[in-house]
Point group: C2
Amino acid sequence: MDAEEFRKRGKEMVDYIADYLSSIDKRRPLADVEPGYIKELVRNEAPVEPDSWEDLMKDIEPIIMKGTTHWHSPHFHAYFPTGNSFPGILGDMLSDAIGCIGFSWASGPSCTELEVVVMNWLGKMLSLPPEFLFSPNGHGGGVIQSTASEVTLTCLLGARTKFIRQIKGDNPNMEDGVIMSKLVCYCSDQAHSSVEKAGLVGAVKLRILESDAKGSFRGATLETAIKTDKANGLVPFFVCATLGTTGCCAFDNIKELGPICEREGIWLHIDAAYAGSSFICPEFRPLLDGVEFAMSFNFNPHKWLQVNFDCSALWVKDSRLLAEAFVVDPLYLKHENEGAMPDYRHWHIPLGRRFRSLKLWFVLRLFGQRKLQQSIVKDVNLAKEFEKLVRADTRFEVTSEVKMALVCFKLKGTNEKNEKLLKLINDDGRIHIVPSTMKGTYYLRFAICASTTTIDHVIFAWNVIQELANKV
Amino acid sequence: MDAEEFRKRGKEMVDYIADYLSSIDKRRPLADVEPGYIKELVRNEAPVEPDSWEDLMKDIEPIIMKGTTHWHSPHFHAYFPTGNSFPGILGDMLSDAIGCIGFSWASGPSCTELEVVVMNWLGKMLSLPPEFLFSPNGHGGGVIQSTASEVTLTCLLGARTKFIRQIKGDNPNMEDGVIMSKLVCYCSDQAHSSVEKAGLVGAVKLRILESDAKGSFRGATLETAIKTDKANGLVPFFVCATLGTTGCCAFDNIKELGPICEREGIWLHIDAAYAGSSFICPEFRPLLDGVEFAMSFNFNPHKWLQVNFDCSALWVKDSRLLAEAFVVDPLYLKHENEGAMPDYRHWHIPLGRRFRSLKLWFVLRLFGQRKLQQSIVKDVNLAKEFEKLVRADTRFEVTSEVKMALVCFKLKGTNEKNEKLLKLINDDGRIHIVPSTMKGTYYLRFAICASTTTIDHVIFAWNVIQELANKV
């Protein structure tokens, strides 16, 4: 395909995308296929001679779309939102065309420097403490990673290296593995499974502590666990607190956890993957109070800030602590970086990296801060409208406080009743939601996902749920 | 931006991309900016009200392109190629539009199933042993990850878990950390820095063993190291062999390393990030002989197979061993997966994942196998032409055998002379190359990178190098 054919096919693809996204509400949000459906539809081997563009495009609907779960349908209310916007797509198109691999400053100066710029922009939008931002004399700054899972692991590894070095200072002959067998990190039972994955990869002990009745990780719980572990000769080194848990969007109490971590010298990491986007709104920013105690803070603009996946934003107060986890001789690094731009390859596990800041830059400039704020507020208000509908039907109850754009609810009564309702809803196929459990109670999660969701979609969804509840 | 405006702006962007890529040879391949250049060109904060599309596009040339290193210029001969093609861009546009997060089969059936299909297609193109492919009764299969760095780490973690479990079987009370302090992995001094990173993250001992005069990791070297380590009570568990090293594209001798790993029960991982694409050509496939001894094999279609970053292809003989590294209770997994499709979230560190198989599918279908083979052969032939030019000039020498599309060469004489030549070349700016060193000798690397590179570009580059060599 030469440039002239690309002009033609690219424009056809733009139209296909515009058509797809503007009529997505007509599609069944959850794919209606069985595992293995694709096998009968494709060849067993790649073609030797090229297929035509027409042949390929003819396959998109019956092969790809047939098995696609449409995350950007306004009838999709499962999981949490994943960002998607026309500005984001356009920025990513440019990123693909440039196709630089910005592992060092020289390999893509604009790739590194635009990331520095937009991460400071975004940090200011969140009113992060200035230590988290790039500044001429500081060591803080932000980086775009792929997922919150990788970010949690990266920060845990930074903390692990810091503690291994500290302990080796006093015990130079102790093996790293032996030190690691004493390290303990903490999260609550509402934390994302990626914390457990990070603990496994990092090969450190993880205490999954009990959250309070609202699903919040509290200071007293952490305090007790630390005391017990220290009494047993273990070394508490890392706490992962969540603002906006996956299950019910609970907020850990970082104003309680923070001072404890500070006193004990523990690395506090805050994962606000979903809820973080809301902190650009003055009315929600108080939920982030306490971030000043953290060593690292993360949220995913690719969730609720209209940026296409992948764009997970991490800020750290001291980026040298990340680099030390990944390079054998950090002294060399300190010299190389002095006064210059960050070498982002030392801030995470991958070496290669895409020009991801472009899509964020496109989104921030083409929406502007105010419209992004309005979009968040709109979604939260829609969730509150849904909450009202649930509360007005005495068969149902709301199981958690609605702070963001997620409503957790259930039919009064047994788990079995609610499992049955969920199955009816997803088999019906007009809307898609997923369940969760907390402290043994099974409930349904209704999230406002697509940015195009309106009150009509919310009412539509509620009517579907009510109708199917009649059958339970 | 609504769908109608996206139709307009998307088509403008398609034209911008077509213009950019079809006139890229007019641009200086290496950006001519100083660190921090962007600061004077951008605002300190994100705009509150939206910028117009025109304002944004007006900034692309003076802010973004000014500082871009143009990896797809036919005058770019640095590092290794990174894939880029119009079919790849088109597939990625569709992926962005669908924007599903395929962490489980249900969250994106087409996302999971197309990946299964194209990874089998690609595995067959490489004539991988059938144990590496998905089959109804086997445990093998392929997965797309982001980078070879992540893949190496993932496989090292799989091997680590396997060995910890084995050793715990005999010593149930031994701490994981204590076991890990006995585990040793091996690579050569020509292996990529990501192996060292994986060793640090995995917190295991890494032996970086001496390669032979050609930069190849040999069996006898590994044999000796294993013997010494075992005599000291350590446990060899993982070998990372490279086919096509970054420095000089050397090939480790997997036919020697493989049987040793098999005998010792060591997990052999093969990293063919760059050279792997060539194995789709019958004339280069013999270089992969010995892969049957490996537990895992990786190459990057996003390097030399015209697929846009990120698309790193990993095949394993037993995917259960990856999952066991990442989940606390693999028994649960075994049940869930039985007979169904893979749950790719358990094959790697990230939970979220893009629909990356689309761009690979577009590339495989719109090029077809034969054209992809021809493109590889063309690049290797161009490198051989460059080699001839170097050999015809008695001031120069070729420092490594030219097997792929990389020529390593130097001016006869001191490292200093060659450092000076490199600086002259990159300051001059008509072409871009990077250096490397092996066993104390500094040399220049000339890689065929852009798929549009022709013999004229090669001759042009050689003329530039000869002209500047006159000044040394």
